[in-house]
Amino acid sequence: MTNNGAASILANENVLLRMSAPTGEVSPFPSAAWPTETFETGRKYKYLNGEAIEVLHQPRAHADMVTIVRDRVRAMVNGGMTLAQVQAANPAQGYVRRYGSASPSATRTFVESVYASLSSSRTN
């Protein structure tokens, strides 16, 4: 019986590596939360509940919003704009109502964080 009867957790091997730690070191997540099955190839085949399942690893999966706002802020930083100017230009427009309407300050903090990280590495 896998995982003491609880649901199995299937994930790419990189998930296990990030959640665990080498022997003798403290892992960032408790072992009960680790994947119980891993795969290191691009895809994993299984047969569950009478259905063929194919799990695909998406190496570049990421959120549009993070990437696009980052690129907008990067263009502004490279153009020499200050943080106040960047905030005024509303680089998160298109994503605010969905992701930032509950906490407008969170949007400003997010843009500020992106600005800070990009300003510290203008060569990006």
């Binding site: 570049r60 907008r72 427009q93 109502r97």
Partner: protein, 311 residues
């Protein structure tokens, strides 16, 4: 009135009501070929990159739409992402419809519209079950329930993933709700959908499509999607346009003389009086050079455009 007579009368009334309800429903089972005589450009080669005319986008929706690059479809993680159920109206394909029935009672538990290669099947639950919690997972198929209103099947779809209202990136959010009416007129089927989206729209967006009953069976499923590298996407990259840099904003103005304000969409562009409001800005081009109507895609231009705006 005796108790027996009352019960008989009650049974008669219930029976008559049940018969009326059953007779008011319509059989939608079968293969329905897409007619595609309307919005042919939309359903064939696809709309212009920046043509949001008639879509009631708010500023957020417009900003997101202008960010979109069609190269996103070539990203390996998006190639099998599929469209949402609004694609019933936007796509070029027909419908295959069947009923899922209770094995004991014979009642219709669900009406199913088969999948396409880029749209998940739509299961319309007819058994009165509620929609899931707002915290339930979002699905490419969404979650759909239906009721009969006379001879019209009215469905409500929630829990859709964020996607598009038009194949050029006009966005729909995961808060969108789609109400769809299926109206059969003999061998014709009208499907009319209304999308309400509190994130990107200021008013409902309505789109319709016609189908014709076809004796040739349509496949209810598409081929399995196999993603592969198409040359797009490095680490942390999403193809998009920065604000003010979408190169297609002026395309319809160049081709047809349509003022720029029209293709940028908004609720005003849905209404007939909008044409009058931009009439003075319209400049008729000397010659129509693309999608002039009258011929199949790729055919030579059919001549000057016929009164595209304000005429």
């Amino acid at each position: 009135m005796t108790v027996l007579r009352f019960r008989l009368l009650l049974a008669l009334v219930v029976t008559l009501l049940a018969c009326r309800s059953a007779s008011a429903q319509v059989d939608l089972v079968g293969s329905w070929a897409a007619i595609n005589h309307e919005d042919a450009l939309e359903r064939g080669p696809g709309p212009y990159a920046v043509d949001f005319t008639g879509i009631p986008l708010n500023d957020e929706g417009r900003a997101k739409a202008l960010t979109y690059s069609a190269s996103q479809l070539s990203m390996i993680e998006r190639q099998c992402a599929l469209y949402t159920q609004l694609y019933l109206m936007l796509g070029p394909f027909g419908l295959t419809v069947w009923n899922e029935t209770d094995a004991v009672t014979g009642d219709t538990v669900a009406i199913v519209i088969g999948a396409w290669e880029d749209r998940a099947p739509m299961t319309i639950w007819m058994d009165g079950r509620p929609h899931p919690s707002k915290h339930a997972p979002l699905l490419r198929s969404g979650f759909t329930t239906g009721v009969w209103e006379g001879e019209t099947l009215v469905t409500r779809t929630t829990h859709m993933k964020a996607n598009y209202l038009r194949r050029n990136g006009a966005p729909s959010s995961d808060a969108a709700v789609m109400t769809t009416h299926f109206l059969r007129h003999g061998d014709l089927l009208s499907v009319v959908a209304s999308v309400e989206d509190p994130i990107y729209l200021t008013e409902p967006y309505v789109v319709s499509k016609m189908f014709r009953l076809d004796s040739a069976p349509l496949r209810p499923i598409g081929p399995p999607c196999q993603p592969g590298f198409e040359g797009i996407g490095g680490e942390g990259q999403v193809p998009h346009f920065l604000p003010g840099q979408n190169p297609s904003v002026g395309e319809l103005t160049t081709l047809y003389g349509i003022p720029r304000v029209a293709p940028l969409g908004g609720a005003a562009t849905m209404h007939p009086d909008f044409r009058a409001s931009i009439r003075d800005q319209f400049v008729r081009p000397e010659k129509c050079t693309r999608n002039c109507g009258g011929g199949p895609p790729g055919a030579p231009p059919a001549g000057p455009v016929a009164a595209p705006v304000g005429r």
